[in-house]
């Protein structure tokens, strides 16, 4: 029954999207407004199909319906309720289902939001592109990633349950959905961009319409990545939060190009420049989400997400090829129309800073992508097998990160068009003192190491600049000085600085050791005392847990080793004692052989880890502040249209012709 419902949902979604594509294509070709308008209803059909699939899957999971192949392969009666719900995205097919659900929801929302403009060809093309992506994912669900196969089950069958690593922490219920909200969210601005390219209306109108989508998606992607780092730290227990694993890189790459994009669009909105950059960055962001999925799920790179080998790789790669060809082709075709009417007057200006920002983030993305796929390329060229691991990524990203911190300090005080040296010197003096002050505090606390010290100096510098902007804005506008794009952006910058400083400190000054402790024995490390008190055993529904009671500086913690019933894999659960100043994490390496035996633990002491999560929260909060509109004097019109001028090519004239800049306080 559930399988049938699910398959019906897939068929509904697939047919709905294909029909929508055909109808919209014909309508757009012929300029038939009625057809284009009717394209909207297909978005609802697609949403219906996806919801039907999701409901069927959840029903099967929560009622332990093992006749459904996905439930048969990945769920168990003994899995706790919340994790049963999260089992939907614990394996490949379910993840594709989640992606499709989010995508269909976004498509329907786009259709609904544009309900007054659905005979606008740009919107029509955007909806078409979204339906094409929907069709692809429904095709995946119908083919290689079908979760709704029917299985004949023997009497009393109980499934294996999801991978033990995914049943260990409640975060598993949130991390993939939030990440997908961000990941998939970039499909919407991409669809609008393709629409703009095809219709030739490459001005600023489509940008203004998708601004909130982009910021929301970016915020979700940021939150998803931070949650992933938190999960890696708290659940996997290897003492770190980022391993430059292909899975992590797959989510980080679109974040990098997406961040460059959200900055660079400000130049296009204000001065109509950097259009090719923006379109390229946006297409790159969307392509990277698809490429990342291919790299992690096809198995060409060893990855923790390559849980199953499946035929999904070639299809995703084919879709990626299509996106690349379409994006590059369209941008190349519309190249002349994308030329800006203005030029960047001086490298020392806000535009120049955003251009440098694009290059730095582009370089960062290039480095991460290169490191991830280089082993594949080498193997293809001469069969050698090499690894590119953490040392490479750290060494490459440190100078880029430091330069970005510097840019974060200087860019907010740069005016548009042209700055003079003494303007900068005047505005940056106080932030420079803040930077020096931060460095002094660090040095007083015993910091060493040039890169870490530079990070503290530049971080303080950037925080001073961001703080300066916020103080000036609140002085002028009261509490409204905290909302709006510029001010929200400064709050996000502060979050980023906190994260950068935390990364620098924890990487440079983290310490670890292994200890063997007898019951009652205590040991000292890095200024903390550890006392082992004994072990306790607990039997849960899906696993046997043995906890070792460890007192860290007098407070009791219980790192554990869990043996999951099926497959008898042993997973460790670390204990983390967090303070704003330092984190002490303890993982259980080996259980004592006898009741009074010696326990083997690993201890990690790292400073400022808590600020990673606080910084992440501030980033999301700042983005929320940025999405709330600030005081705008002249909102840009929703659509900018090209205007024929006798004897010349069409030029882009934004409907806004107020010489004062809109949307951003002029004191910038």
């Amino acid at each position: 029954m559930n399988s049938a419902l699910g398959v019906a949902g897939i068929v509904l979604g697939l047919l709905g999207s294909i029909c929508g594509i055909v109808v919209l294509a014909i309508g757009l070709r012929r300029g038939n407004a009625a057809l284009i308008r009717s394209g909207r209803s297909y978005a609802w059909l697609v949403l219906g199909g996806a919801v039907l699939c999701a409901v069927a899957m959840q029903r099967a999971l929560l009622t332990d319906d093992f006749t459904v192949s996905f439930v048969h392969d990945h769920s168990a009666t003994t899995t706790p309720g919340v994790f049963k719900f999260a089992t939907m995205w614990a394996a490949l097919e379910g993840s594709i289902l989640l992606w499709t659900l989010v995508l269909a929801s976004y498509t329907a929302i786009v259709g609904w939001r544009e309900r007054t403009r659905t005979d606008d060809p740009l919107v029509g093309w955007a909806l078409l592109v979204m339906l094409v992506v929907c069709a692809f994912f429904f095709l995946l669900l119908a083919g290689p990633a079908n979760p709704f196969g029917t299985v004949a089950i023997p009497e009393g069958y109980d499934g294996p349950g999801p991978n033990p690593l995914l049943q260990n922490h409640i975060l598993m219920a949130f991390h993939p959905p939030v990440l997908y909200l961000g990941y998939v969210g970039f499909t919407v601005p991409f669809a609008y961009a393709i629409g703009a390219l095809i219709t030739g209306r490459v001005g600023e109108g489509w940008l203004a319409g998708t601004r909130r989508w982009t910021l929301f998606s970016w915020a979700c992607l940021t939150a998803g990545i931070i949650m992933g780092a938190w999960w890696s730290y708290e659940v996997l227990g290897w003492g770190g939060y980022w391993a430059w694993d292909p899975v992590e890189n797959a989510s980080f790459l679109p974040w990098l190009t997406g961040t460059a994009y959200i900055h660079s669009v400000m130049v296009q909105e204000r001065r109509g420049m950097l259009r090719v950059w923006n379109l390229s960055l946006l297409c790159a962001t969307f392509s990277l989400t698809i490429l990342g999925t291919f790299l992690t799920r096809s198995g060409v790179i060893e990855s923790v997400h390559a849980f199953s080998e499946s035929g999904i790789g070639p299809m995703i790669l084919g879709f990626f090829t299509l996106i690349v060809v379409v994006s590059v082709g369209l941008i190349g075709w519309r190249g002349d129309r994308l030329r800006a009417p203005g030029r960047i007057d001086s490298p020392l200006s806000r535009e120049g800073a955003f251009l440098a920002n694009n290059i730095l983030f582009g370089a960062f993305a290039f480095v991460v992508l290169l490191g991830t796929v280089f082993p594949l390329i080498v193997e293809a060229s001469n069969g050698e097998r090499i690894s590119v691991g953490v040392p490479y990524f750290n060494r490459m990203s440190t100078p880029i990160g430091l330069t970005l911190l510097f840019l974060m300090a200087v860019a907010p005080v740069l005016p548009w068009r042209k700055a003079s040296g003494e303007l900068l010197r005047h505005r940056l003096l106080v932030p420079a003192w803040v930077g020096a002050g931060a460095l002094a505090i660090a040095v007083l606390l015993g910091a060493t190491g040039l890169s870490a010290l530079l990070a503290f100096l530049l971080g303080g510098f950037a925080a001073g600049a961001a703080g300066r902007q916020l103080v000036l804005a609140t002085r002028r506008q009261g509490w409204r000085g905290l909302v709006g794009r510029a001010n929200g952006g400064m709050i996000v910058h502060i979050g980023v600085i906190l994260i950068a400083v935390a990364i620098a400190a924890s990487t440079a000054y983290g310490r670890q050791t292994e200890m063997k402790l007898a019951p009652g024995q205590s040991a000292e490390f890095a200024g903390h005392t550890f006392v082992y008190r004994g072990t306790e055993q607990r039997l849960l529904s899906n696993r046997d847990v043995v906890e070792a009671t460890i007192e860290i500086d007098g407070s009791t913690y219980a790192p554990a080793l869990s043996r999951f019933r099926f497959g008898s894999t042993i997973i460790g659960t670390p204990s983390v004692a967090s303070t704003p100043r330092q984190d002490v994490a303890v993982t259980l390496l080996e259980l004592p052989a006898t009741a009074d035996g010696v326990v083997s633990i690993r201890v990690f002491v790292q400073p400022l880890i808590m600020w990673l999560w606080i910084g992440g929260g501030i980033m999301v909060f700042g983005t929320a502040m940025a999405i709330v509109p600030g005081r705008r004097r002249n909102p840009l019109a929703a659509v900018s249209a090209p205007i024929e001028v006798a004897g010349h090519d069409e030029i882009e004239v934004a409907v806004d012709d107020d010489p004062a800049p809109s949307g951003v306080p002029a004191e910038v």
Binding site: G272, G299, E302, G335, D336, R339, L376, D649
Partner: protein
């Protein structure tokens, strides 16, 4: 936008009227570089896609070992029967060094092949099998061999250094050592036929050039 339109106003100073609508100068004949850049980017990306398309999934990648062709690492220890073992004693015969563990399912699956191979060559004595246990206890090993058969030296205990010496990634792995004490092949999961094939190849090489 009006700013740029103003700066690009025609070079006419004779206008005099303050509100002549700005007429944009003819755009400098664009060097039409965008299609070329787009084409280059496209070609690079298509090449990259080609590379990706021709990769095999990582778990199907071929087995190579840097040890093949080199002298066998030292292999000495005490078997579970308490007897000393040293691979040097087996010069002149083929030795199949099999790394396994009792809790590993593919090891259990390949074990009958090893048993068959050892029985085949027990008479001529030209090939022997020796097993090295990875992270296992002696009782488990004894029980394993009691259940699955096999009568050859098994080294237990602290085999960590040996594991690293041979570059063992995971179990099961087997290394075939030629009579001249060279590692000639590596298997992850042996078959009797495969082992015999390797031996035949090496024998041909040894006797061929003469």
């Amino acid at each position: 936008m009006t700013e740029s339109a103003t700066t690009e106003s025609s070079k006419t100073d004779e206008v005099g009227e303050a509100d002549v609508p700005a007429r944009p100068t003819a755009r400098p004949t664009a060097r039409r570089s965008t299609p070329w850049i787009a084409a280059t980017v496209g070609v690079v990306l298509l090449l990259f896609i080609g590379v990706l398309a021709t990769r095999k999934p990582s778990d199907q990648k071929g087995i190579s070992s840097p040890l093949v062709g080199k002298a066998v690492p030292p292999l000495a220890g005490t078997t579970i029967d308490g007897k000393p073992f040293n691979i040097d004693d087996y010069r002149g015969r083929y030795v199949v060094v099999n790394f396994f563990a009792t809790w590993c399912v593919p090891c259990i699956q390949e074990h009958p092949e090893l048993v068959a191979f050892q029985e085949q060559h027990a008479a001529t004595g030209d090939a022997v099998v020796v097993s090295v246990a990875f992270n296992d206890t002696e009782e488990n090993i004894r029980a394993f061999f009691a259940t699955n058969g096999g009568n050859w030296p098994v080294i237990g205990g602290d085999t960590g250094p040996t594991i690293l010496d041979f570059g063992v990634v995971k179990v099961p792995e087997s290394y075939v050592v030629s009579p001249s004490r060279q590692v000639v092949a590596k298997f992850t999961g042996v078959t009797t036929a495969g082992l015999n094939e390797v031996m035949a190849d090496i024998n041909k090489q040894i006797s061929g050039p003469r």
